[in-house]
């Protein structure tokens, strides 16, 4: 068994176990030590991951894909998780189960990593389940608080349904093509074997199951509730990390089917349109900032699906997908970092005049939102730019036009918040969390700007990556 191929994942598991043991024995005031263990585990995993640079092959009998796409996605997952850990100690300071939180967080990250690397349908199912089970826990962490429990409950119900659909879909594909390995499925489909309406149904159900993790239509409804009710570090984690894994998993799944068969790409395009439109329309009149970010994150999943639509039609599709996912992660984490630093304040009214009391937080929020709209010089602009280029290049110009129209609509709600923050009458005092969350906010906001300058490196690196099976 080439155990070294999953060394990064092993180091995450080890860190998760160590964090749990530490939390079980350490006194209450030292629970934050688990965060350090988790960060150390992530650092080691990142180092081990970078050692895999340049690999493009299947391992573990074809169930695990080592390629550029999964490498960069797993790197993004680890960095995003580390960022969420920075937000946590302040938030859970008084929580008696503080230390355990990091274990669940790491296992959630592991689920997302497994999605990105899955090279086999059954492996995909296990990855989605791991990511889901931990996700429910993270969302409902404050078990005495109704909103948090409600978020976890909705997430769970939605997830149970989506996972059932996923398993049904996987069963259909497995039955029709008599293999669950991606390499075999790709070979069969290239020859046009086993094509049938039932296979389309199988793929559609599987895609729905993954769309749940992505927060895309038709399994998106949990996202706004989680964004509103889950503890803010969990909300930041759940709106970003599983999406990164799911994006790669979905891309791999779609790539199995050649563009000329089954009409899978038009289906994804329709999902993209539905997702972005619904997300933006629902966000328009939100007066709860966290719900607003939740809906905007649904809309962003719609944009992301554009890159998956043109996979195999435009040579830049994978690069665009990776750049966009990275830019979305940076923008969304920045927004949640601000919310966390402001102790999770959520009613839109409470953001009136924030700029006069907390100028840095206000600026960071505006930068995050400008990035999510895609206004230069933020990284979000480059994400959208590469996305639009790939989409138009792949022959889906109408989809790019719809996305542009959606971007205009989205500006309405983002700018409404920016307007309140800068033009409103400020409250007496705005409480903030602490030094750690403040520096996390700074780091994130600066990253939004700086990464747009350094984007060339990313484009070159992502451009060299491949998505198995080829």
């Amino acid at each position: 068994m080439p155990i070294g191929d999953v060394a990064p994942e092993i180091s995450i598991i080890v860190a998760a176990v160590l964090a749990l043991l530490f939390a079980a024995f350490a006194p209450r005031r030292m629970q934050a030590g688990s965060a350090l263990i988790a960060l150390a585990g992530i650092a080691i995993a990142v180092a081990l991951l970078l050692a895999q640079l340049g690999e493009t092959r299947f391992t573990f009998s074809g169930t695990w894909a080592l390629d550029g796409a999964s490498l960069w996605a797993r790197l993004m997952i680890l960095i995003s998780t580390a960022f969420c850990i920075l937000l946590s100690p302040g938030w859970f300071r008084t929580d008696p189960r503080h230390g355990e939180y990091y274990t669940i967080l790491l296992l959630g990250a592991l689920g997302a990593m497994a999605m990105a690397g899955a090279g086999d349908l059954l492996q995909l199912v296990i990855a989605v389940l791991l990511s889901s089970v931990t996700g429910y826990t993270l969302a409902a962490w404050h078990r005495d608080w109704a909103l948090s429990v409600e978020a976890g409950m909705k997430y769970f119900l939605m997830g149970a349904l989506a996972n059932a659909l996923l398993i049904t879909g996987v069963t259909l594909i497995l039955g029709l093509l008599s293999s669950s390995e991606y390499a075999d499925i790709a070979t069969a489909l290239k020859l046009g074997n086993g094509l049938s309406p039932l296979l389309f149904v199988g793929f559609a159900l599987t895609i729905t199951g993954v769309a749940f993790k992505l927060g895309a239509v038709p399994a998106h409804a949990w996202l706004p509730d989680v964004a509103e009710g889950a503890p803010v570090p969990s909300a930041a984690f759940l709106t970003v990390v599983p999406k990164i894994g799911a994006a790669i998993a979905l891309a791999r799944l779609v790539q199995l089917v050649p563009p000329e068969f089954l009409g899978l790409r038009p289906l994804i395009a329709v999902l993209a349109v539905a997702t972005m439109t619904l997300g933006n329309l629902a966000a328009l009149w939100q007066d709860d900032l966290r719900r607003l970010i939740g809906w905007s994150s649904v809309a962003q999943a719609g944009y992301l699906l554009m890159a998956i639509t043109v996979l195999g039609l435009s040579p830049d599709a994978l690069t665009a997908l990776l750049v966009f996912v990275a830019s979305y992660a940076i923008g969304n984490l920045t927004a949640f970092a601000v919310v966390a630093h402001l102790r999770g304040r959520t009613a839109l009214n409470d953001y009136d005049g924030l700029a006069k009391r907390r100028p840095v937080a206000a600026a960071a929020l505006v930068i995050a939102f400008l990035s999510l709209v895609g206004i230069p010089p933020t990284v979000g602009f480059l994400g959208k730019l590469t996305l639009f280029i790939a989409t138009i290049d792949g022959g889906y110009t109408w989809l790019a036009v719809v996305a542009a129209a959606n971007t205009v609509a989205s500006l309405f709600y983002y700018a409404r918040v920016m307007g309140r923050v800068y033009f409103g009458v400020p409250p007496e005092n705005v409480a903030v969390m602490g030094r750690l969350s403040c520096s996390a906010m700074w780091i994130a906001a600066i990253t939004v700007i700086v990464s747009s300058v350094l984007v060339e490196t990313a484009i070159v690196a992502f451009g060299l990556s491949q998505l198995l099976p080829i």
Binding site: I375, L385, F412, G419, E456
Partner: protein, 495 residues
């Protein structure tokens, strides 16, 4: 040099944000200093600028790599057109920054946003890379959004939002068109010079038409042309005077400049095919702007609608100039030169008019024309400035507007005689509306509550005098400006 001209105001803006304990007057001095320094850089470029026939099209060129894999780089350079426009913008920014704040609240942030806006506006005119052009185009919206929303009055937040959304819709149309354009060259590049030389869409009917439509819609929103001008009046009315002056004087020019630089120059054939519809839209703007302006009783709304009218002249000239691929070179060159002169003249004249309008608000908190009268008796210097600006705007010979309009109309007559003939009506109406405006404000009976109406202060007077002196200078002796602009337009028309 050009990079410095863009960078200096940006650094000034950063300095204003970072230095916490700056008083209002020091903040203003810093802002004036930064904008003057940036203007000096432009003057140096102008002094070295070669207007002879065989000079290179773009001068003072500089380049630095940014995203080579997408063909994007920091490229700056000027021709006569962009140099003239950036010089005008430089002057107008110094003027508007020197003008007293209408609502002296948070001065550091106010001047910082102004410098930011100056940096991106100059950047837009000076860059030769389509993507960075788009970056500056979008950033100008952000700057304007905050300036209107924060320092405006009345329902400023709503006006700012409307402005932001409308113009972002336009700019996204431009972004899609840009992508369509650059994808048709191989390897992909955003270099304007390469795209102008390549004419990548020649012979592509439908695709070229759609891309052209994207550009024209986007720039028409910004210009603005009828029927996508409706964001303009509320934005102007709610904005403080100096911000209105920049909005009308500089930001509107981005639309017309963009039309010339991108669709006109980079896709000649397609542009020529659709020049007639564009000219008709321009005609509609001329008439609509003039007629609606006539019906306004709000001082700022009236001036705002004359902008729609004036930008209509400009676009009509541009459409006439691009209507043919060969033939009538002289007339087309004249129309294009007129259009560019109109951009410069409109910037200075309307800038001055909006500053005057801002003065009215600062003194009486109303723009209602009926509330005033007989001000010539108490404010003779204000009257004098307003009369010159209004006459210049309606196109009186000897002032800058005339130089522009006469060339536009003469040039257009050779290409689209009917449109030019109907367009002349616009000039008549504008003349009527400005004369009525002057009459209502300055002549007749002085209402009781305006007996103590203060005349322009020394600072306001100096700013207005400088702007209007330029207007008169261009009107009487336009040679220097025409040489500069002509060097660009003859190259553009000649291909």
């Amino acid at each position: 040099m050009l990079t410095l001209a863009i960078l200096i105001p940006m650094l000034g803006a950063l300095a204003l944000i970072i230095l916490p304990s700056l008083s209002q007057s020091n903040a203003r001095i810093l802002a004036i200093g930064a904008s003057t320094l940036s203007f000096l850089m432009l003057l140096i470029v102008w002094a070295r600028f070669d207007t002879s026939v065989d000079a290179p099209a773009f001068q003072a060129f500089a380049e630095a790599a940014w995203i080579p894999s997408l063909g994007v780089a920091w490229r700056v350079g000027v021709d006569g057109m962009s140099l003239a426009l950036s010089l005008m913008s430089g002057v107008l920014f110094i003027a508007c920054i020197s003008w007293p704040m209408e609502n002296p609240e948070r001065p550091r942030a106010y001047y910082a946003w102004f410098l930011f806006l100056e940096s991106v506006s100059l950047g837009l005119f000076l860059v030769l890379d389509l993507l960075i052009f788009y970056v500056f185009f979008d950033l100008s919206l952000v700057g304007m959004f905050f300036l209107i929303g924060r320092w405006g009055h009345g329902d400023a937040e709503r006006a700012a939002l409307k402005f932001f959304i409308y113009t972002l819709a336009g700019s996204l149309a431009i972004l899609l068109a840009i992508i369509g354009l650059v994808l048709s060259v191989d390897p992909i590049t955003f270099d304007m010079r390469a795209l102008i030389a390549a004419q990548p869409l020649a012979g592509m009917d439908l695709r070229g038409g759609l891309i052209l439509l994207g550009f024209l819609v986007g720039f028409a929103v910004k210009a603005p042309l009828f029927p996508v001008h409706t964001w303009l009046p509320p934005a102007h009315v709610m904005a403080p005077g100096p911000v209105s002056a920049i909005l009308a004087g500089v930001l509107l020019k981005m639309g017309t400049y963009g039309i010339v630089r991108i669709p006109f120059q980079m896709m000649r054939e397609t542009f020529a095919d659709y020049a007639l519809p564009l000219a008709i839209v321009a005609l509609a703007s001329i008439l609509w702007g003039a007629i609606v302006a006539l019906g306004q009783t709000n001082l700022k709304r009236r001036i705002a609608y004359t902008s729609v009218n004036h930008m209509g002249y400009t676009v009509m000239g541009i459409a006439a100039a691009g209507a043919l691929l060969t033939g009538a070179e002289g007339a087309r060159e004249m129309a294009l030169t007129g259009a560019v002169v109109e951009m410069v003249a409109h910037g200075l004249i309307t800038g001055a008019l909006f500053l005057i309008a801002g003065g009215f608000w600062a003194r009486s908190e109303t723009y209602d024309l009926n509330a005033f009268g007989g001000l010539a008796n108490v404010a003779p210097r204000l009257t004098m400035a307003a009369v010159i600006a209004a006459f210049a705007s309606l196109g009186l010979p000897g002032l800058a507007g005339f130089v522009a309009e006469v060339q536009i109309f003469v040039g257009t007559f050779a290409v689209f005689p009917w449109i030019a003939a109907i367009g002349l009506l616009g000039i008549l109406i504008t003349a009527a509306l400005f004369l009525r405006l002057l009459q209502q404000l300055f002549f007749g009976d002085l209402p009781k509550d305006h007996e103590g109406f203060p005349d322009v202060s020394l600072r306001e007077g100096t700013v207005l005098a400088a702007l209007l002196a330029l207007v008169v200078l261009i009107g009487i002796y336009p040679r220097w400006l025409l040489d500069l602009i002509g060097s660009a337009t003859s190259a553009i028309i000649g291909g």
